[in-house]
Structures are given as structure tokens and as C-alpha cells.
């Protein structure tokens, strides 16, 4: 078990390094392709309006303690009252918005593009790795692992006697897939920070659900305990000045 395998240097030169380089390049390529494919459609006026309302409600929430109680209450009523408050969405309308989103072909198209730009390169790379590099022991992890990791790290080699820390080329591909995320966020900037898992989550939620986020904002506005900060300001000013004097 413990004896070391001797790996050919050709494996390093023709499997390990090319695989990693290709993974990096494909990541960069994917970034630019998805940037090109991002359609710049005109934003829907209604969605834009709702987004602005949410931003205003958030501003009110974060600045709540800097205005007198009366003004705060007036603004809160403006946002959350049940008749014509900006954040209040009637029940039936909420359903409509959902249905509308599903029927809007542009939205679905955009989603498709996003998912395709994620899926196609990944499956292509995987197929490429499978085709060229299947069955190599490509690398060795410099720390010991238990037998449970065998399926994960030695995907593609059916040998039960090889030490678990040896990694097959296919598993090296997976290691790269997860580990290069940090590198991408460094070389491609923050736009790439939204990684695949987050995209997956978005897919589940099928886009931005305006009605729900409006309702969330409304609830959080409703439960704010208002406490006007300015009456205590003189005290604070005094403290600060005293500290300066000392």
C-alpha cells in the first residue's frame, strides 16, 4: 500500500499541466462569452419602478433613527399601508406576476443563455478530459486521506490497492473546477464572483420575484422599532469634545 508509485514525467508535462492550463483558459473564455451573450434589453418600466421602491424603503430603514418619530411613521404608512402603499401587493396580482414571468419568452431566453454558457463548456471539458486523459494517475495529494475519499479522488481508475492520496486525471479535473474559483475572482474581477452554485440557486428561483421581495421589505419596515437618535446628539457631542480636550 505504502510504496510510492513512480510517475512518468511525461504525465506531468502532457496531463497535469495542460489540464490545469486548459481549465484556466476555459474559465476565462466562458467569462468573455457570457459577457458577449448578455443581451442588453430595455429594462421593463414596472420592474425598474419596483426596484427603486425597494431601494427607497431600504434607505428609510437604514436612516430611520435620524428622523423624528412622526416623520418616520408618515413615511412608513406611505410605504406599507394596505390600500395604496407602495410596498403592498394584492394577493391576486402577485400570482399574475409569476405567470407573466413564465410566459415572457425574453426572460426564458436569457435564462437559457446563461445556463448554456455554464453547461456547455463544462460538459465539453469533461468530455475532453474523459476522452484524452482517462485512467491516468495524474497527481498525488500531499496529505493522507481515508478510504472514503477513494470514489471522489480516484474516479476513473478501478484499482483498490493504490494509495488514496493518488488522484486520477478525471478527479484532478474536478479539483480544478472547485479550486480555481478563487483564481478566477482574482483575474477576472468581481463580476465572476457569482459562481456556479449561486447561478444554480437563481435557476431554482427562476429570476427575480418582485412581489416576494416587496413583501419582505414591507415586513421588515413594519417591525422597525423607531428610536430617534438626535435628542441624544448633544450628549454625544459633549463626550467627543471632552475626549478631544483630554
Amino acid at each position: 500500500m505504502a510504496e510510492d508509485l513512480v510517475l512518468d514525467t511525461a504525465i506531468r508535462d502532457w496531463v497535469l499541466i495542460p489540464l490545469s492550463v486548459v481549465m484556466v483558459l476555459i474559465g476565462v473564455l466562458r467569462y468573455f462569452v457570457s459577457k458577449l451573450m448578455r443581451s442588453s434589453q430595455l429594462p421593463d418600466a414596472k420592474a425598474l419602478k419596483e426596484g427603486q421602491v425597494i431601494i427607497r424603503a431600504r434607505n428609510l430603514k437604514s436612516g430611520a433613527n435620524f428622523i423624528p418619530s412622526k416623520s418616520f411613521r408618515a413615511r412608513r404608512v406611505y410605504f406599507t399601508n394596505e390600500e395604496n402603499g407602495l410596498l403592498y401587493v394584492p394577493k391576486d396580482q402577485a400570482q399574475n406576476a409569476q405567470a407573466q414571468m413564465f410566459s415572457d419568452p425574453n426572460m426564458a431566453m436569457d435564462m437559457m443563455k446563461k445556463n448554456l454558457s455554464m453547461l456547455i463548456p463544462q460538459s465539453l471539458t469533461f468530455a475532453w478530459v474523459n476522452f484524452f486523459f482517462s485512467g491516468f494517475v495524474a497527481a498525488k495529494i500531499p496529505f493522507p486521506l481515508t478510504q472514503r475519499f477513494r470514489a471522489m479522488l480516484q474516479n476513473g481508475i478501478d484499482l483498490s490497492t493504490v494509495d488514496v492520496s493518488y488522484v486520477s486525471s478525471r478527479s484532478w479535473y474536478f479539483l480544478n473546477l472547485f479550486g480555481l474559483r478563487g483564481l478566477f475572482s482574482l483575474i477576472l474581477g468581481e463580476e465572476n464572483a457569482m459562481d456556479d452554485t449561486q447561478r444554480m440557486m437563481q435557476m431554482g428561483g427562476f429570476g427575480f420575484d418582485a412581489a416576494r421581495s416587496l413583501a419582505v421589505e414591507k415586513d421588515s419596515l413594519d417591525i422597525i422599532q423607531h428610536d430617534w437618535a438626535l435628542p441624544k446628539m448633544e450628549q454625544r457631542a459633549e463626550e467627543v469634545l471632552r475626549k478631544l480636550l483630554r
Partner: protein, 112 residues
């Protein structure tokens, strides 16, 4: 690594600009990622194996935390809303990158 904005802080009331805080946290995240990659390469070239490498990672991260604190002139409250932002946040985030680059460098230098 350069905290761009300053936030005022007081005892009972939090007054800070969320955007500046965000930007500070982002620069911390970038430096941690960068450090974990560089640390991985260094650990691989030096040929650390087993527990030693992880100890090295945590050492690098601890030193990074200390340097962040020094960069903020030890008045963390000026730039962040709590010490955790500097000391704890993102401590394990770079581990995956570290392991990858550690393995990569180690294999290239020592295995073949």
C-alpha cells in the same frame, strides 16, 4: 489591500457607509484569496506534506489577519464594524484554492 473609506463609529449608534464597508471587505477577500494561492505554491515547493501544510495555511491566514489589523492601524473600528471582519471572515474560504495549488506545486516539484 487599501481600505478606501473611513467609517465613523460611536458607542451606541452605528454610523457607517455600507458601501465603504463592502469595499473594505472585498479588498480583504481578494488579499486572502491571493495569499492562499501564493501560500499553496510556496507550501508545495517547500514540500510540506500532511498536517504540516494545513498548519502552514493557518499560519499564513493568521499572519494575514495580523497584517490587516496593522494596516488598519489597529483601530479596526474605523474601517469595519467588528473585529470578526478582519480575524475570522474568509479564514476557510481560500482553503480549496490553497489545497489545489499546494497539490499542483508539490506534484510538479516532488512527485515526478
Amino acid at each position: 489591500m487599501d481600505p478606501r473609506g473611513k467609517e465613523k463609529q460611536s458607542d451606541d449608534l452605528q454610523i457607517f457607509s455600507a458601501e465603504n464597508l463592502q469595499s473594505n471587505m472585498k479588498s480583504i477577500y481578494y488579499s486572502r484569496t491571493f495569499l492562499s494561492i501564493v501560500g499553496g505554491v510556496v507550501a508545495g515547493i517547500w514540500g510540506f506534506t500532511g498536517l504540516m501544510g494545513f498548519v502552514f495555511y493557518f499560519l499564513v491566514m493568521a499572519i494575514a489577519s495580523m497584517l490587516f489589523a496593522a494596516k488598519a492601524k489597529f483601530s479596526v473600528r474605523t474601517y469595519f464594524d467588528s473585529w470578526n471582519r478582519i480575524v475570522v471572515d474568509g479564514f476557510l474560504g481560500g482553503l480549496m484554492s490553497f489545497v489545489l495549488f499546494w497539490t499542483f506545486a508539490y506534484d510538479i516539484v516532488h512527485i515526478f
